[in-house]
């Protein structure tokens, strides 16, 4: 299913953050087929439509939960709606228009009675001074970036513990950096200072902390990125796409990195370009989404099932939700991604946990290929309370991996190394658009040892390869109740191997 090396033959190549490409007029692009697991997934995670009143167009781009448990939705059309009663079993949420007339909202935070809205043109503090329920003051907190070209989207974070906000800026027309700091990430301090912190972004689709509180962002497949990925936004780091180096003169506190060489591998290139930050979690293109977007960490204290403290992330093209976990190994972030739930009704641009611990998912299908068939939608994923048999988490150990499960694995299948199929690949690190999976290998699983409680297994491999995505197919495993895994695959990106 991997699709690579499409060349733009005619028309205009158009890209959205988190989105790959398609061509206007007479061509189009694959959106990829479903995983085919929706019918089984629905027994564990129910998809509930949140009806949008007739006449409203709510193309959700950002969410934030308010102290009174309402959820604010910022939209591509520049509106902010306040939604009440989102958690009812059969929801008919109230929609109150709080603000309108803003410019494509892809970031929404809230503090002390004020919204902090990342719109394409600026980061804005939005308040209702009169108390009539409508915004009436829009204060520019930061506009210290250029905004003058097509496709220059801006994605904003929530507040970090120190009160900072972060903005990830997409490139100009998707390929260039023609306006100030396009392709950079900016930190906006509580005092209103805007500090460039990292270059090399291509087409971000979301920005925020990982489950450990480190700042990450979503990168999209394209030049220098052969798949979508989660990346650690290292202060002073270079995120891989060198076209934005032209603005280092405007960030004198940072040192311009050496230019990376196209056609290499990131694992070798990061040794030469010290600032280069490798992809923490690669989402194999098409198999794990095609345009990954907003994400959120599950802190629902078990209300959303067994995946506490994990990242939940949407995909625009394929209208699905995935999971991810990360860990710090030898000072470098890396981790795994997992299929979770497909069959949503529109292209997912962002996700947010509701006060009752359900996952609110929203977006639109406007402008780019999308599998779901609704022009826009708000949907809620509710855990039904049934425990799915899933790969809960994959983490690395010196000679292999530790794999946690949500339900006990039966000893017969779980102790058999043949039931742990692992293969690896990496991508070419290059300036071309996307890229194939290369340098494939199939390591031997030498030992598989299931814990006494059946909830985790450790596997020892004859080799671990740095820079490679390690793909797991555990379809042969069975739970003690003889369940098949709901999703048999997981994908772990190995940047570093821990010491023995």
């Amino acid at each position: 299913m991997n699709c690579f090396a499409r060349t733009v033959k005619s028309g205009i190549a158009l890209l959205l953050p988190g989105l790959a490409w398609f061509m206007v007029n007479t061509s189009g692009e694959e959106v990829g087929d479903w995983w085919g697991t929706a019918e089984r997934e629905r027994a564990y995670y129910r998809l509930v439509n949140l009806p949008i009143p007739q006449g409203l167009i709510v193309e959700a781009g950002a969410f934030v939960t308010l102290p009174d448990n309402r959820i604010a939705v910022g939209t591509r059309r520049g509106d902010i709606y306040l939604l009440g009663q989102v958690d009812e079993a059969k929801p008919t949420p109230s929609f109150e228009l709080f603000a309108t007339g803003l410019d494509e909202i892809f970031g929404l935070a809230y503090r002390d009675g004020a919204f902090y809205v990342t719109q394409s043109c600026e980061l804005t503090r939005v308040t209702d001074r009169s108390g009539d329920g409508r915004a009436d003051k829009f204060e520019t907190i930061s506009d210290t970036w250029g905004y003058a070209n097509y496709h220059e989207y801006a994605f904003g974070s929530k507040f970090d513990p120190d009160g900072n906000l972060y903005v990830a800026l997409g490139l100009s027309s998707s390929y260039h950096s023609r306006a100030l700091f396009r392709g950079w990430a900016m930190k906006v301090t509580p005092e209103g200072r805007t500090i460039p912190i990292a270059s090399g972004l291509r087409s971000p689709g979301g920005i925020g902390p990982n489950e450990h509180g480190a700042l990450f962002y979503i990168e999209s497949q394209g030049p220098w990125n052969s798949s979508c990925s989660l990346k650690f936004l290292k202060p002073g780091g270079f995120m891989g796409h060198p076209v934005s180096f032209n603005w280092y003169n405007y960030a004198p506190h940072l040192k311009e990195p050496a230019k990376p060489e196209s056609g290499t591998r990131i694992v070798s290139e990061k040794e030469k370009v010290k600032e280069l930050v490798p992809y923490a979690v690669v989402f194999p293109y098409i198999r794990m989404g095609r345009s990954i977007t907003g994400y959120v960490v599950n802190r629902t204290a078990g209300k959303f099932g067994p995946f506490e403290n994990q990242i939940f992330i949407g995909d625009y093209t394929q209208s699905l939700i995935m999971r991810a976990t990360t860990e710090l190994v030898n000072g470098v972030w890396q981790g795994a991604c997992y299929p979770f739930r497909e069959g949503l009704s529109t292209g997912i641009l962002n996700v947010q946990f509701t006060p009752e611990g359900n996952l609110l998912c929203g977006g639109t299908n406007r402008g780019w290929p999308v599998r779901g068939i609704k022009p826009f939608a708000l949907e809620r994923l509710d855990w039904t309370g049934r425990m799915p048999f899933e790969i809960k988490r994959v983490s690395i150990i010196p000679n292999g991996f530790k794999i946690n499960f949500t339900k006990p694995v039966d000893a017969t299948t779980g102790n058999d190394p043949n039931n742990y199929r692992v293969s690896t690949f990496t991508h070419i690190y290059h300036s071309g658009y996307g890229g194939p999976e290369v340098d494939k290998s199939i390591p031997n699983v030498l030992v598989a040892k299931l814990s006494a409680d059946g909830l985790h297994a450790t596997i020892r491999l004859d080799q671990l390869t740095k820079g490679h995505v390690h793909e797991f197919d555990l379809g042969a495993l069975r739970s003690r109740e003889r369940d098949e895994l709901l999703h048999r695959n997981a994908y772990y990106t190995v940047n570093e191997i821990p010491e023995g």
């Binding site: 033959k9 158009l14 959205l16 206007v24 007479t26 061509s27 189009g28 692009e29 959106v31 019918e39 998809l47 439509n49 009806p51 591509r76 059309r77 520049g78 079993a89 059969k90 008919t92 007339g101 803003l102 410019d103 494509e104 394409s120 043109c121 600026e122 804005t124 503090r125 001074r129 009169s130 009436d136 003051k137 829009f138 520019t140 506009d143 210290t144 250029g146 905004y147 003058a148 070209n149 100009s172 260039h176 023609r178 306006a179 100030l180 603005w247 405007y250 093209t317 069959g343 009704s345 292209g347 299908n365 406007r366 402008g367 780019w368 290929p369 999308v370 599998r371 779901g372 068939i373």
Partner: protein, 775 residues
């Protein structure tokens, strides 16, 4: 399996004993249990009818056996909340004599053979017990809805598939086998009824009353209609602890828990399994005594007896489908094979907003081969998630609950088969051209499918038929192929022409006219999903923003205000644009406000809907300015030099945008700075001599006395007086101040720029400028 079978014996009698209440007097009484599906065009023989009755009457609750069918599983109404749903008085009457109070009800009379006094005593105690379960009894609450809207809903969305419709003269149609609703006004109040209609499965988990996905307003409207304009009849009710205890004892004595499970109640007592029952005794005797009385007709008894005496076994998949479709009355709307479909009474209530598409746009689709037609994911969404691909059809596909019908998709998929169709996967090289052919075939330069179909959420210029882009997600490819080859075979009466009956397609110039190639080309084109390029003949709708009664402010990129543009529109039709990147008034126009680019990828860029008077977008204010020097102009990016050569242009000149605030009328005041001078900039609409006037007020706050230069306008400017200046489109009125009208350095000799030299004292200074539009 027999062919169509109507059951006149299910008609309830019209002669009977009337209760004293005037409301109850309208009921026909002694109606046998009504199963709407059995009154329709079902395919069941006597044994099949008996099987359905065994399930619908919950016989297995007391007489469990190993042959319980999937469609037999159904929960009785929830009793935990019954006290908050129903009038206690109604409950009491109903429990004392269910058949008389709610003719056709499936709940049996559990007090058969008891004296009138005993009936009354038991019903009273049970009522106290049941009301006590919900903590507090129902309190009548107003919940006003629109009865007229409710009436339309009732008749349009499908309620009349199971319930009697009301004729234009207000009387009810007398329809066989339909459930009466005359008891509703004494059973509920408006609030509890609308709550029930909003989420019927909460109270009745069996799904026999399906969920029509009503909104809150719709629920209220429908409740208002069904209450018939009557005021709530709920009277205050005080629960007696003594009667609660007695009621609990009766609840156990009469084995109510067999159907109505309650926590903390002991499990139900089981009686003989169905296979051991004597069909002429107990509940099945003609006059049950000391056994539940279902008020069965002779024919119902006979059907049940046939089912009981036939060799008990699991039904085949095909029979289980037929039984299920009958039990849930799917056949009221849907035909399958040679059974089901709307009755002649129901047909007039099936409506569409697209008359031109014929009956196919009104009548819910047939279920013949449904398991081969729909992809499992879509079938689940339609059955259980309220999805629909037919927005023009007024009848709604309701939800029966996944817990009740979750077994059906697999049954249909197992039974329904179409001939396998080879689905060639094009190679990478051919894929583009094949899809282009599909794109062409769909559009108005091809077969013009879009004249009857919407596409990707965009409306057809003709009939607004089913959105073609849903096809790939809904349909299985083999069924799609056979349907395209012969639409009328799969949907009799469809208005869609048959383009591919033979081996040659309708358009010989596309893919050589090869039928299969054309059919698959369209399928591959659909497989793009929402990224499929729009076919010729479908247009992106424009999006206009109307001002209405209050001032509108809209941010977005614009050719007249730059990427950080802001448009402001006043009621009355005066509009202006402000470039927040440089702090300039950059355009003024009369007429409609703006159109915005929200089609496709459109980021919402705005365009004035009439010709704008455009003003330069260079910074307007400078703290330090040598009048001999050129006014610093906005950097220009070109195709050849696309990178901004001076990215800090406004910032290095002291400009900083601070935002804006609305007053009570939503008029924005823009705030920005030039160095340490704060500027507040507000404009309002006015009129002078029939000309539109933008009245702009600038407030400066200077921390120290200083001079600020303000470039008001540039272009073909001429002085009319010391305070009046003109361009071909505008007349400006300024206060008395020092002005410089000069030819910009290096500019066309005809051009001038007007610069004000503002000597600001420490503190606040105001400056008023009128912009009079001359056209």
């Amino acid at each position: 399996m027999s062919s169509f079978c109507t059951l006149p014996y299910l008609r309830f009698g019209l002669i009977g004993i009337f209760l004293s209440s005037t409301i109850l007097s309208i009921f026909p009484i002694h109606a046998t249990p009504l199963i709407p599906g059995l009154g329709g065009k079902h395919p069941l023989d006597e044994r099949g009818i008996g099987e359905v009755l065994l399930g619908e009457l919950r016989c297995g609750a007391c007489h469990a056996d190993e042959y319980s069918q999937d469609f037999h599983r159904q929960g009785a109404p929830d009793l935990i909340s019954v006290g908050q749903r129903l009038s206690p008085e109604y409950l009491r009457r109903f429990l004392a004599d269910p058949v008389r109070v709610q003719p056709g009800v499936k709940m049996p009379d559990l007090l058969a053979g008891q004296s009138t006094m005993k009936r009354s005593e038991v019903a009273d105690a049970l009522t106290h017990f049941l009301v006590s379960l919900s903590g507090s009894p129902i309190v009548a609450k107003p919940n006003p809805g629109n009865a007229r809207a409710g009436r339309i809903l009732f008749h349009d969305i499908g309620c009349v598939a199971c319930h009697s419709a009301q004729l234009g003269n207000g009387s009810k149609e007398v329809a066989d086998g339909l459930l009466p609703l005359a008891h509703v006004p004494i059973k509920y109040d408006h609030h509890s009824l609308s709550g029930f209609l909003f989420n019927p499965h909460q109270a009745r988990p069996s799904g026999r009353m399906p969920d029509f996905y009503l909104s809150g307003d719709e629920s209220r409207d429908l409740a208002e209609y069904l209450m018939g304009g009557k005021s709530p009849s709920v009277k205050p009710f005080k629960v007696s602890a003594e009667l609660v205890d007695k009621g609990r004892a009766y609840f156990r004595e009469f084995n109510c828990v067999a159907c109505h499970s309650l926590d903390r109640e002991p499990p139900a007592r089981q009686s003989l399994p169905l296979t051991k029952l004597n069909p002429s005794r107990g509940c099945l005797s003609t006059k049950p005594k000391d056994a539940p009385d279902y008020n069965l007709s002779d024919i119902q008894r006979k059907a049940i007896a046939r089912a009981l005496t036939s060799s008990r076994s699991r039904l085949s998949a095909g029979d289980a489908i037929a039984h299920s479709l009958t039990a849930f009355n799917c056949i009221a709307c849907h035909a399958r094979d040679d059974y089901g479909g709307p009755s002649k009474e129901f047909l007039p209530h099936l409506k569409t907003s697209e008359q031109g598409l014929g009956n196919q746009a009104k009548i819910p689709p047939g279920l013949t081969l449904a398991g081969a037609k729909l992809k499992p994911g879509w079938m689940h969404k339609v059955l259980f998630d309220g999805e629909s691909a037919r927005p023009y059809m007024h009848t709604r596909m309701p939800g029966f609950g996944e817990a009740n019908l979750g077994f059906l998709p697999a049954l249909l998929a197992g039974v329904d088969k179409v001939e396998i169709a080879e689905f060639p996967e094009p190679g990478r090289k051919e894929r583009g051209s094949i899809r282009s052919a599909g794109h062409k075939l769909i559009g108005d330069k091809g077969l013009n499918c879009i004249t009857c179909h919407n596409f990707n959420g965009k409306e057809s210029p003709g009939f607004k038929g089913m959105d073609l882009l849903t096809s790939y997600d809904r349909l299985q490819p083999a069924w799609y192929y056979h349907f395209m080859r012969n639409p009328a075979k799969y949907r009799p009466g469809i208005v869609m022409p048959n383009y591919w009956a033979g081996s040659k397609g309708a358009r010989g110039d596309i893919l050589g006219g090869d039928t299969d190639a054309q059919v698959w080309a369209i399928w591959h084109y659909f497989s793009y999903g929402q990224g499929a390029p729009t076919p010729s003949g479908i247009h992106n709708p424009g999006s206009n923003i109307e001002v209405g009664g209050v001032v509108r402010t809209y941010r977005g990129r614009s050719r007249i205000a730059g990427y950080r543009g802001i448009a402001v529109g006043f009621p009355g039709g005066l509009n202006y644009a402000f470039d927040a990147a440089t702090g300039t008034l950059s355009g003024i126009w009369r007429g409609d406000f703006v159109s915005v680019g929200w089609g496709g990828q459109g980021a919402g860029s705005f365009n004035p809907r009439s010709r704008s008077i455009n003003l330069p977008r260079d910074v307007s204010f400078l703290q330090r300015f040598d009048e001999k020097e050129k006014w610093p102009l906005l950097p220009v990016m070109t195709k050849e030099n696309p990178v901004n050569p001076d990215p800090l242009y406004p910032r290095n000149l002291g400009y900083r945008f601070l935002g804006y605030a609305f007053d009570d009328a939503f008029v924005p005041t823009f705030s920005y700075r030039c160095g340490d001078v704060g500027i507040e900039d507000v404009s309002v609409a006015g009129e002078k001599d029939g000309h539109a006037l933008l009245k702009r007020t600038l407030k400066f706050v200077a921390p120290a006395a200083q001079t600020l230069h303000f470039r008001v306008i540039a272009g073909k400017v001429e002085a009319v007086s010391d305070t009046h200046y003109k361009t071909p489109d505008l007349k400006l009125k300024l206060p008395v101040t020092t002005t410089i009208l000069r030819r910009p350095l290096g500019a066309d000799p005809a051009l001038r720029e007007l610069i004000l030299k503002l000597d600001l004292p420490k503190g606040e200074t105001r400056l008023l400028i009128d912009y009079e539009l001359l056209r």
